[in-house]
C-alpha cells in the first residue's frame, strides 16, 4: 500500500499524535510506526505491510479538524516549538486544568474504533526442540544445523533477511539462501513473526502468522532477528520525504518505486558508504553523502562525500537539507543510513544482557552464540555480528543450540 501511494505521489500518510505534524513512511519495513493508516475500516495499520488490493479503502488518520493536508490542529506544533512538558502544563489553576484535560482527552489517540466486529481467530499450539527466529543469513545458517524437530520463523514473505538488500558486502549469496531455504521445506514459516518470548518451564513463543497465533513451545531458541533502520534526531527528520536508506533500496528492488531522482544521504560509518552505493545501483543520483558520525568514515573518491551534521530538513515533503557547514542542498528526498539497531527485544526481554554501541543494544553472546540464558542463543546482527560475520555466527549458534 505504501509503495502504491508513494508511486502516486502521496507523501503525507497521517498526522502525528500530539503536534499533528505531517508524517509519511520512514523505515518501509514495518517497524517505525510512521505510516499507520486506516485500511478497510481497521485503524492504524502500517501501510508498508498491507497488501494493496483493488477496491481497498485506505484513509489517513488523526486530522479531526480540517484535512490531513491542512490540519488546523498543527497549531499545537507551533505553540510548543521545542516540545511539550505536559506534566507541568496549566498546574496553577483548577479551572485551567479542567480545560486542558478536556482538550488533551479529545486530542488524544490516533485511530477510530474498527468498523466491524471481529470474532476470535482460532490459534494453535506446537512444540519443537529448537525455534530459530529470523531467516536471514544468520538464522538460515543456524537452521541448517538443526534436525527435523526445528522451525524457522520469518516475518517477511521470503527468506534472506538483510542479504535481500544487496547492501552488506560478504553477506549471503541468493543461491545459498534459496538452497538453504528449500532444504528446510515446511519447517520455514514465512509471513510469521515472533511477537513474544515468554519464560515458563519451557520457553514459549507467540508467533503471529497468516492463520492467527501459534503458541510455540521450544526447548531452545536461536534469536537471529537482525536489525531495524534508525532515524537521526535532528530538526525536521520526522517530515515526509525523509526515509531509511535501506527502506528506499527495498522499495526500488521490490516495487520498482523511487521517491524522486536525487537524494541526500545522511549517516555514519560503513553503513553510509554501503547504502549510498546501493542507492546509486537502484538509479538514484546522490547530491551528497553527509557523514555525521562521531568518527569520520574513509572518504570514498567516487561519491560526493562531506563531513557535516544536518541542522534542518525543510519542505513538505522535504526538498532541502541544511548542514552545519553552511551548505543548503536541494534534493527530492533525504535518506538516513545509520547502522541498523539490533532487534534485541525478544532476547533481552527473556533476560539476556545487552551492550550499548553506536548502532543500538546488541545481545551479549560468546563466539558460540551462547547468551547468559542457558536455552537462548543469538546470532547475526542482533548479536553485533551482522554483514560478513552473520553466516558464521549462525552456524556456531545453530550447532550449540542443536547439541544443547
Amino acid at each position: 500500500m505504501a509503495a502504491a501511494l508513494l508511486r502516486a505521489g502521496v507523501t503525507t500518510f497521517t498526522r502525528s499524535i500530539k503536534y499533528h505534524r505531517p508524517r509519511g513512511p520512514f523505515c518501509l519495513g514495518g517497524s517505525c510506526g510512521q505510516c499507520l493508516m486506516r485500511v478497510d475500516g481497521v485503524p492504524s495499520l502500517p501501510a508498508c505491510r498491507v497488501l494493496a488490493r483493488a477496491g481497498s479503502s485506505c484513509q489517513r488518520q488523526n486530522a479531526p479538524l480540517g484535512s490531513v493536508e491542512a490540519d488546523v490542529l498543527r497549531a499545537a506544533d507551533f505553540l510548543f516549538p521545542a516540545g511539550l512538558d505536559h506534566h507541568h502544563l496549566f498546574t496553577s489553576s483548577r479551572a485551567l486544568g479542567r480545560v486542558a484535560l478536556e482538550l488533551a482527552r479529545r486530542l488524544g489517540g490516533l485511530g477510530e474504533l474498527p468498523d466491524r466486529e471481529l470474532p476470535p481467530i482460532p490459534g494453535r499450539a506446537r512444540e519443537v526442540e529448537v525455534a530459530v527466529v529470523g531467516a536471514g543469513p544468520a538464522g538460515l545458517a543456524a537452521a541448517a544445523e538443526q534436525g527435523a524437530d526445528a522451525v524457522v520463523i520469518e516475518r517477511e514473505a521470503a527468506p534472506g533477511g538483510a542479504s535481500l538488500f544487496g547492501i552488506d558486502p560478504g553477506c549471503a549469496e541468493p543461491s545459498w539462501v534459496e538452497q538453504t531455504a528449500r532444504a528446510l521445506g515446511d519447517r520455514l514459516w514465512l509471513r510469521s513473526e515472533a511477537v513474544g518470548l515468554y519464560v515458563d518451564a519451557t520457553p514459549l513463543l507467540a508467533v503471529q502468522g497468516p492463520q492467527g497465533l501459534t503458541a510455540l513451545r521450544a526447548r531452545r531458541v536461536v534469536v537471529a532477528t537482525g536489525g531495524v533502520s534508525q532515524p537521526l534526531a535532528f530538526p525536521g527528520v520526522d517530515r515526509p520525504g525523509v526515509y531509511a536508506a535501506r527502506g528506499l533500496v527495498k522499495l526500488a528492488r521490490d516495487h520498482g518505486v523511487r521517491v524522486g531522482a536525487s537524494l541526500v544521504v545522511v549517516g555514519e560509518g560503513e553503513e553510509l558508504i554501503h547504502c549510498s552505493r546501493a542507492l546509486v545501483r537502484e538509479g538514484y543520483r546522490l547530491e551528497a553523502l553527509v557523514d555525521a558520525g562521531d568518527e569520520p568514515c574513509p572518504a570514498p573518491a567516487d561519491l560526493p562525500w562531506r563531513r557535516a551534521r544536518p541542522l534542518r530538513a525543510k519542505g513538505n515533503p522535504v526538498r532541502r537539507l541544511v548542514l552545519d557547514d553552511g551548505a543548503r542542498i536541494d534534493c527530492d528526498a533525504v535518506a538516513i543510513a545509520l547502522p541498523p539497531a539490533p532487534l534485541h527485544e525478544l532476547a533481552s526481554g527473556a533476560g539476556a544482557r545487552t551492550r550499548f554501541q553506536q548502532g543500538g543494544f546488541a545481545v551479549e553472546a560468546d563466539e558460540r552464540g551462547r547468551t547468559d540464558v542457558p536455552w537462548l542463543f543469538a546470532a547475526g546482527r542482533v548479536a553485533g555480528r551482522g554483514g560478513g560475520q552473520a553466516r558464521d555466527s549462525g552456524v556456531a549458534a545453530g550447532r550449540e543450540a542443536a547439541h544443547g
Partner: protein, 496 residues
C-alpha cells in the same frame, strides 16, 4: 521559527523533552521513558531507544547503566482477536518462572548515588512507592521531622508504577469508602498542591454483574455507599449501554454506576510527591538498597543500606508486596503474600470509552487512558503466590477473550504491550498499618491488595498526623496484631 528534533515519532517526543526530563532528575532510561513517553507508541521503542541512549550517554550515564528499557511484549502490535483465539491449554503455565529479576542488577549498581546518606534521621521510610512518598510529603508539611525515603530501584519500579490508574470510592467497608473519597478529592487538587498533572479524568466506574448472585452483591455495596453520600446507583443494562454503547448486552444482568470515580496517570503522582517532599527538605534516595534493620531493647534503631547506615527513631515499612521481607529484618512477621497481577495496553484510539468498566465476578476491568489506550487487566484464580513480575501469554489470551466477548468491536484493535506487578494480599483484604508487635518505632504501611495507589493521599495524611501524636483509631484497627487476635476487617469488592 524553530523546528522540532523528533526523537520518538510515535509519541512526538523531542530531544528537548529528554533534556527536560534529565533536568527534573531523571537520568536512567526507565525514568526518562516514563517521563517523556518515548518508546510507548506503536513501534515500542525500536526507532528511538538507541537515540535516547545516545543522549543519556553523552550526558555521562555510566556504561553499565546503558541498557535498553525493559522490552514489553508484543514486539509488534497484535490483534485482540488473535490472542482471544488462543486455546487456553496451549498457554497454560507449566511451572514457576525462573526469575532473573532477583539477580544483582549491574545497571542499578551503576546508578547508585555516590554522595553519603545522612547519619541520622527522625523517620526513615523504606519504599519509594506512592505510600512512602505521600507519607514523606505529609510529614514534611507538618514539619519538625527529618525524613529520608529509600528506594532500591527507580521511583516507578514497583506496583505504584505498574497499576492501571483506576480510582474509585465504590468499596464495601466504611473505612475504605472514607479513605478513597478523601483521596480522590485530593487528586482533583493535586496539580495545584504539588505542581504536576495527574490527569484525573472522572469518567465514572461502571460495575457489571454477570449473574443474579453478583447483582445482589452490587446492590448491597450500592446501598452502603449511598449511606456514605456517594452518588452510586444501580442502573439497568439499557442504561449501561447508553454509557458504553459497544457493550454486548447479553453478557450482564445488572450494573452499578458511580459518575465521580475515574482514572489517573500513575507516574506523575509519585514524582509530584517526591518533588514536593524534596522541596520541603526530605531526602528521596533512589537506587539505594536496604540490607538490614537494627533493633535492640524492643526498639528499632537504624536502617542499614548499601550506602551505609542511618540511625532513626521511626522506620516505616512501605514496600508493598516486599514488606514482609523488610519487616523480617527486624524479626517481625507479616502475613502479606505477593500475587502477580497482569495488565495490558492497546494501541491509542480516539476517545470512545468514558468510564472504567469492570465485570465483577470474572475480574475483568478496562478503561481508556488520556492517551487513548485501552488499559486493563483481569484476575486469575489459578495464579500461584510469589513475587513473579514477568508477563504471560496466558494472561493476554484470557484478558483478550474476555474483552472481545464483552465488546466485540475490539477484535481488530491491537495490543501494544503488557506488564505485571504485585498485589500485596492480606488475609482479610484490609491493610496493615501502625506499630509492629514487639518492635517499637517500626511502623507498617502495607497490605493494600492492589488498591493502595488510590488510597494513598488519605492514608498518608492520617499516618503523618498519627505519627505526630494525633489519635486515630485506624492505626489500632488495622494493626498487624489483629491477625494473631483473629479480628479481621473484611473487604470484598476487590477486582483482579
Amino acid at each position: 521559527m524553530a523546528e522540532k528534533a523528533l526523537l520518538c515519532a510515535c509519541e512526538d517526543v523531542t530531544v528537548h523533552d529528554v533534556e527536560v526530563a534529565m533536568a527534573h532528575g531523571h537520568r536512567d532510561i526507565e525514568s526518562v521513558k516514563r517521563y517523556t513517553g518515548l518508546g510507548t507508541g506503536p513501534c515500542q521503542g525500536k526507532s528511538c531507544a538507541a537515540g535516547a541512549m545516545r543522549i543519556l550517554a553523552r550526558a555521562g550515564l555510566p556504561e553499565s547503566a546503558r541498557v535498553s528499557f525493559r522490552a514489553r511484549p508484543p514486539l509488534s502490535p497484535t490483534r485482540i482477536a488473535e490472542y482471544a483465539g488462543l486455546p487456553l491449554e496451549a498457554v497454560e503455565q507449566l511451572g514457576d518462572t525462573p526469575l532473573r529479576l532477583a539477580d544483582p542488577d549491574p545497571s542499578a549498581e551503576a546508578l547508585r548515588p555516590r554522595e553519603p546518606l545522612p547519619e541520622r534521621a527522625d523517620v526513615v521510610i523504606v519504599g519509594g512507592g506512592i505510600m512512602g512518598l505521600a507519607l514523606a510529603w505529609n510529614l514534611c508539611r507538618l514539619g519538625g521531622k527529618s525524613v529520608v525515603v529509600l528506594e532500591r530501584d527507580y521511583l516507578c519500579a514497583g506496583a505504584s508504577g505498574r497499576n492501571g490508574g483506576g480510582v474509585r470510592a465504590q468499596w464495601t467497608t466504611p473505612s475504605l469508602i472514607e479513605l478513597a473519597t478523601e483521596s480522590i478529592d485530593f487528586m482533583s487538587r493535586f496539580a495545584q498542591e504539588l505542581g504536576i498533572n495527574v490527569w484525573l479524568r472522572r469518567g465514572g466506574y461502571l460495575f457489571l454483574a454477570h449473574d443474579a448472585a453478583t447483582a445482589v452483591r452490587l446492590e448491597a455495596g450500592t446501598s452502603l455507599q449511598r449511606r456514605f453520600g456517594l452518588a452510586t446507583r444501580i442502573i439497568s443494562p439499557d442504561e449501561a449501554l447508553d454509557l458504553v454503547p459497544d457493550l454486548d448486552r447479553r453478557r450482564f444482568v445488572s450494573a452499578s454506576w458511580n459518575p465521580d470515580d475515574g482514572v489517573v496517570f500513575p507516574w506523575p503522582f509519585l514524582w509530584g510527591y517526591a518533588e514536593g517532599a524534596r522541596r520541603l527538605g526530605a531526602r528521596i534516595e533512589a537506587f539505594t538498597r536496604v540490607t538490614g534493620l537494627e533493633a535492640s531493647g524492643g526498639r528499632v534503631r537504624a536502617v542499614r543500606t548499601d550506602r551505609g547506615a542511618i540511625r532513626a527513631d521511626s522506620v516505616v515499612v512501605a514496600c508493598g508486596a516486599w514488606s514482609p521481607a523488610v519487616a523480617r529484618m527486624a524479626g517481625v512477621e507479616l502475613p502479606n503474600v505477593p500475587y502477580r497481577h497482569e495488565i495490558a495496553s492497546s494501541e491509542p484510539l480516539k476517545p470512545f470509552l468514558g468510564p472504567l468498566v469492570s465485570m465483577l465476578g470474572t475480574g475483568l476491568y478496562f478503561s481508556q487512558s488520556m492517551r487513548g489506550e485501552i488499559v486493563g487487566g483481569m484476575g486469575d484464580h489459578d495464579e500461584p503466590p510469589g513475587a513473579n513480575q514477568s508477563s504471560s501469554l496466558r494472561f493476554l489470551a484470557r484478558y483478550s477473550a474476555a474483552l472481545a466477548e464483552l465488546m466485540p468491536r475490539l477484535g481488530d484493535v491491537k495490543m501494544l504491550r503488557q506488564w505485571a506487578g504485585l498485589y500485596d494480599v492480606t488475609p482479610d483484604g484490609s491493610p496493615v498499618l501502625g506499630e509492629s508487635p514487639g518492635v517499637a518505632g517500626l511502623l507498617q504501611m502495607s497490605g493494600f491488595v492492589g488498591h493502595g495507589f488510590m488510597m494513598a493521599p488519605a492514608v498518608a495524611r492520617r499516618m503523618a498526623a498519627w505519627m505526630g501524636g494525633a489519635a486515630d483509631e485506624m492505626f489500632e484497627r488495622f494493626s498487624a496484631r489483629r491477625f494473631a487476635e483473629g479480628r479481621l476487617e473484611r473487604e470484598t469488592m476487590i477486582i483482579g
